[in-house]
Amino acid sequence: MKRALTIAMLVLLAMPLLYAMSQLPPHGSATSPAYTHISPRYLERGPEEAGAENVVTDVILNYRGFDTNGEVTVIFTSLAAVLAVLLAGRKGDERPVREPAAEPSPPSVVVRFVVRLLGPFVTMFAVYVIINGHVSPGGGFQGGTVFGALVILITVVLGRSVAEKLQPLGVRRILQAAAPLTFVAVGVLGLALFGDYLAFPRDEALAWVRTSWLMVIEIGIGVGGAAIISAIFWQMGGDR
């Protein structure tokens, strides 16, 4: 009954949605407002104006850098939120300690060896994705995620203690906050030097500054993203 009602309601909902969709500018048209208003400028002048050949990177880090600043804050928020929910509660409210039914058999030597072997290569790939983001598909998020996946892989196969060595406890909090902090640092630098928050030098002579700042931000995002992903994974008990 509930299902039938829901379906009826959704069909009713879909009608106006579909009608509105039919009135939108045709899909793929080169004359639609979306394609003729702002994006032409990004496409034409992006690489020289914003500093990266990948125009998407230009948009993310430069034209709409503040969005990304907010976005990394969202990731940070999600970490804080997960910690807030999962960190052990008050006494008597601790999470039930599960008796390990049997000592889980450690993964076979072959698996452990392969993971150890893969580690450096995955890391290198992550670094490549991060620093090449401005000329090819890629960037901080993607690279950070790849590295985060490596940390998770190591946690699962070699144990959390090994994985945690990648993020020493002393600097872990800084690493987790790396992405927003990098943004704030670069933004304030821009404010101080060029008069606007997150401003990059426009001057052609300073193109190297622009590129290196972009790189710094990418690395910051990458490091922060990896740290947060692994922290969330650990907190959720992914190692159990």
Partner: protein
């Protein structure tokens, strides 16, 4: 209207997906399934916005040697990159909550939880 809809079939697809997701959110009893429904809705909206950026025959908007116009619109891609991150963050929190609810109540079925209240 049908012709226009056919032309915008990509958008129609996201509407259908949106409704499927909403259906899951409303009718599914299992909290994780509910949340998968929400993820389907998210995907539908992302697909819609990405589809807005498509231009016929467009290539990825990466300049440099060998690149030739037309390029697809970079803005929706940038937006959805942000959107995905937001969705992932929400998912992380939702899963954490579900873990806790399971630990407390031993179930994640909405009707059983309601009875416990």
């Amino acid at each position: 209207m049908i012709a226009m809809l056919w032309q915008n079939i990509d958008y129609v697809g996201s509407v259908v997906l949106f409704c499927i997701g909403l259906y899951c959110v409303i009718t599914k009893n299992n909290l994780i399934k509910k949340f998968i429904g929400l993820n389907i809705m998210e995907t539908s909206v992302f697909a819609f916005i990405i589809a807005l950026g498509v231009v016929d025959g467009g290539e990825a908007p990466i300049m440099g040697a060998g690149a030739s116009a037309p390029f697809t619109n970079p803005i929706p891609q940038a937006l959805i990159l942000t959107g995905i991150v937001v969705a992932v963050s929400t998912t992380a929190l939702a899963l954490s909550l579900i873990i806790r609810i399971y630990e407390h109540c031993g179930t994640i079925e909405a009707d059983e939880l309601r009875e416990m209240e």
